[in-house]
Amino acid sequence: MSDPETQMVPNPERRNLLIFAIALIGAGISGVMGYAIFGYAVGQALKADGTSGDGNWIGIGKLDDFSEGVPTQKNITVTTHDGWVNHRSEEAVWVVRNTDKVTVFTATCPHLGCKVNWQEQAAQSCFYCPCHASSFNVNGTLIKGAAARGLDTLDWRRQADGMIQVNFKRFKAIVAEKVELL
C-alpha cells in the first residue's frame, strides 16, 4: 500500500505536473457542469417559445364594430407558451377604421412597454403613454416623447363571413426598428 516515491519534498517537476493535472480535472468537471447549467438557465431562455408566429390569428369583430378615424379598444385573448403552461390571457389592441380597411395597433408602448390610451383633446387627439409621455397620432406615428418609433401595427385579414382577424405579436422595446420577439 505504501508509495515508494513518497517523500517530504517531491521534486518540483513532479509537483507542477500534479498541480497541472488537478487544475485540468477541476476545469473538466466545472466545464461540463458549466456547459449544462448554461444551457439550462440561459439557453432555455433563448429558445423560441412559439408564442409569436403566423398561426396566431384572433378574431376582433366586423368592420361595422369600428368607427371611422377613431380608435376602438379591443381586448383579445392570446395564448402564451410560457414554459410548462399554455396560458390564455387578455391583451389590448387599438383598431382604427379607414373606410373598408382597418389599422390595428398593439396597445404596448414601443418605448418601455407601458400601455397607450386614446385621449380626446380639442387641439389634437392622440395615443398617449403616461409612463414617459410619448404621444402618437391616429396613424400611430410618433408625435413626441421618449419612444424611438411609432406604435406597432399588427397584420389583419378578413374572413368570408366578414370577421376581421389579427395576428398578435410582441415586439422589441426601445429600438427604432420594429423587431418581432420570437
Partner: protein
C-alpha cells in the same frame, strides 16, 4: 507577469491573510503519505457540491404543489435544455451520497480511526449520515409521481408508530391529516432550506474537528513511523482526490445519460394496484418490517433501526482500547461484517421476493413509467375559462329588449348599469325584469310581455357573466 501576480498576491495577503489560510488548508500533514485510501471524504464533498448545484438549479423550474410538482419535473426532464442531465445527476447523486457515506463509515470503523479522542468527530459524522438519509426521504416525495406518493405514505405511517407521540409526529410531517400540497411544501422547504443549512454547518464542524484531531494515519504503522514519512495534503493527496472525483463524476454522467432519471405517472391515490417500494438502500429495513406483525410491528420499524443506530453512534465509547489494527479487534470487525451480511441478505430477499411474487405488477409499473417518459411533454392549459365565458352570446330577446340600456354584452352604458357583476339570485332577476319595483330596483322600467322561460334564460346568462 509573474512578478505582477506575485505583487497582487502580496497585496491581497496583506488585506485578507490568504497565504496563512491556504497554508492551513493545503499544507496539512498526511501521516504515512498520500493514499487512495483517504479519498472518500473528499469524494463526498464533491458529490455534495454537485447535489447542491444541481438542486439549486432544479428549483429554477420546480413548483412544490400537488397541482404542478409532477408537471414541472416532467418539464425539466423532457423540455428544458440539459434538464435531463441536471435532474439525472441529482437523482443518481443521491445514491452516490449514500454509497460514499457507507464506504467512508466502513473505512473509519475498519481502520479504527474513531479512536483517540475522536468521539465528537465521530458523532458529528453519524449526524451527517442521518442528515443525508433525511435528504433522501424528503427528496423522494418531491416529483409527486406514484412511487413518491405511496413511498412517503409508508414512511409517514412508520413515523406514526412511535409510542405516544406517533399521531402528533405524523400530523406535523403531513401538515394536517392528508398527504397533499401542504406536505409537499414542507418536505420541499426542509429539503432545500433546513437540511442544506444543517449539512453545511455540520460539514464545517466535521472538517474542523478532523483537522484538530489530525488524520489517524495507517493502522499498521506506529505513530512515529507514520510521522517519519508524511506528505502535505496539496498536491499529492489532492491529486488522488481529484482522480477519484473525476471517476465518480464520469460514472454519474454516464449513468444519467444511459438511464435517464425515471419519472412515473402523476400520483394517483386511487390506484389500488400500485406496489410501493423504498429506495434500494432502505430495502433491508423494508424487509425487516415483514417479519414483525401486529403489536410487534414496532420492533421492525423502530426498535431494530434504533438499536443499530445507537450501537453505531456509541462505538467510540464502548470500544475504548487504543488498538487500531482490525485483526486485533475481532469483536468490532465481526460485528461490522455480520451486520453488513444481515443487511445484504435482507436486501437480497426483498429483491428476490419482488422478482418472483410481484413480478408482473412490477413489470407493469415499470412499463407505465417508461411509457410516460417516452411521451412528449404537454403543457398545462390555463386561463381558458375566461374565454368560454366571453364567447357565450346573450339570448336573442336580450338584444332587442335590454341591450339599448345595458350594452350588447351587458357591459352597461350611460343609461343602464353593467350586468357583469350582478349579485342577485336567479329568481330575483326573473322577477326584476317583469316588475323591478317589487324587488327594489324602481329605476328600471318594467319589461312587460317577456315570457317567464325567456326571463329565466336572460337571468342565467347575466349570472354567467360574473367571474
Amino acid at each position: 507577469m509573474t512578478h505582477l501576480i506575485g505583487k497582487l498576491y502580496d497585496w491581497l495577503d496583506e488585506r485578507t491573510g490568504i497565504k496563512g489560510v491556504l497554508h492551513e488548508v493545503l499544507d496539512e500533514k498526511i501521516p504515512g503519505g498520500a493514499r487512495f485510501a483517504y479519498v472518500l471524504g473528499s469524494a463526498l464533498i464533491l458529490v455534495f457540491g454537485l447535489q447542491f448545484v444541481t438542486g439549486m438549479f432544479l428549483t429554477m423550474y420546480y413548483v412544490p404543489s400537488v397541482e404542478d410538482a409532477h408537471r414541472t419535473v416532467e418539464y425539466i426532464s423532457k423540455a428544458v435544455t440539459s434538464g435531463w442531465l441536471i435532474r439525472g445527476l441529482h437523482h443518481y447523486g443521491s445514491s452516490a451520497m449514500i454509497i460514499l457515506v457507507g464506504l467512508h463509515l466502513l473505512q473509519v470503523v475498519i481502520w479504527g480511526a474513531y479512536k483517540n479522542k475522536r468521539e465528537v468527530l465521530w458523532l458529528v459524522g453519524i449526524g451527517l449520515m442521518m442528515v443525508v438519509l433525511a435528504f433522501s426521504l424528503t427528496g423522494y416525495l418531491l416529483p409527486w409521481d406514484m412511487k413518491a406518493y405511496f413511498g412517503t405514505q409508508v414512511t409517514v405511517n412508520i413515523a406514526s408508530e412511535v409510542p405516544f407521540l406517533g399521531d402528533f409526529i405524523k400530523r406535523v410531517m403531513l401538515g394536517g391529516t392528508t398527504l397533499g400540497t401542504i406536505t409537499l411544501s414542507r418536505f420541499f422547504m426542509v429539503h432545500v432550506i433546513i437540511l442544506p443549512a444543517s449539512i453545511m454547518t455540520m460539514i464545517a464542524l466535521h472538517l474542523y474537528l478532523f483537522r484538530r484531531a489530525k488524520p489517524a494515519g495507517p493502522f499498521n504503522l506506529t505513530e512515529a513511523a507514520a510521522q517519519a514519512k508524511t506528505d502535505t495534503f496539496f498536491p499529492k493527496q489532492v491529486f488522488k482526490d481529484a482522480v477519484v472525483g473525476l471517476v465518480v463524476f464520469i460514472i454519474l454522467v454516464v449513468v444519467a445519460s444511459k438511464w435517464p432519471a425515471p419519472l412515473e405517472p402523476k400520483a394517483n391515490p386511487a390506484d389500488i394496484n400500485y406496489i410501493a417500494r423504498p429506495e434500494w438502500y432502505f430495502l433491508w429495513l423494508f424487509q425487516t418490517l415483514k417479519y414483525f406483525q401486529g403489536p410487534y410491528a414496532i420492533i421492525g420499524s423502530m426498535v431494530i433501526p434504533g438499536v443499530v443506530m445507537t450501537v453505531l453512534a456509541t462505538l467510540p465509547f464502548w470500544d475504548r482500547s487504543p488498538e487500531r489494527h482490525p485483526r486485533k479487534r475481532p469483536k468490532v470487525i465481526f460485528g461490522l461484517f455480520g451486520g453488513l451480511a444481515v443487511i445484504g441478505i435482507l436486501m437480497g430477499m426483498a429483491i428476490q421476493e419482488d422478482r418472483t411474487v410481484f413480478k408482473d405488477t412490477f413489470a407493469k409499473q415499470h412499463a407505465a413509467g417508461e411509457k410516460f417518459m417516452a411521451q412528449p411533454f404537454k403543457p398545462k392549459e390555463t386561463g381558458f375559462e375566461t374565454e368560454k365565458k366571453a364567447k357565450a352570446a346573450p339570448p336573442a330577446i336580450f338584444e332587442t329588449r335590454c341591450a339599448m340600456c345595458h350594452g350588447k354584452a351587458g357591459e352597461g352604458n350611460m343609461v343602464g348599469p353593467k350586468l357583469t357583476a350582478v349579485t342577485r339570485s336567479k329568481a330575483d332577476i326573473v322577477k326584476l325584469i317583469e316588475n323591478p319595483a317589487a324587488v327594489g330596483a324602481a329605476k328600471m322600467p318594467p319589461m312587460a310581455g317577456i315570457p317567464e322561460a325567456e326571463r329565466e334564460k336572460i337571468a342565467e346568462w347575466i349570472l354567467s357573466l360574473r367571474d
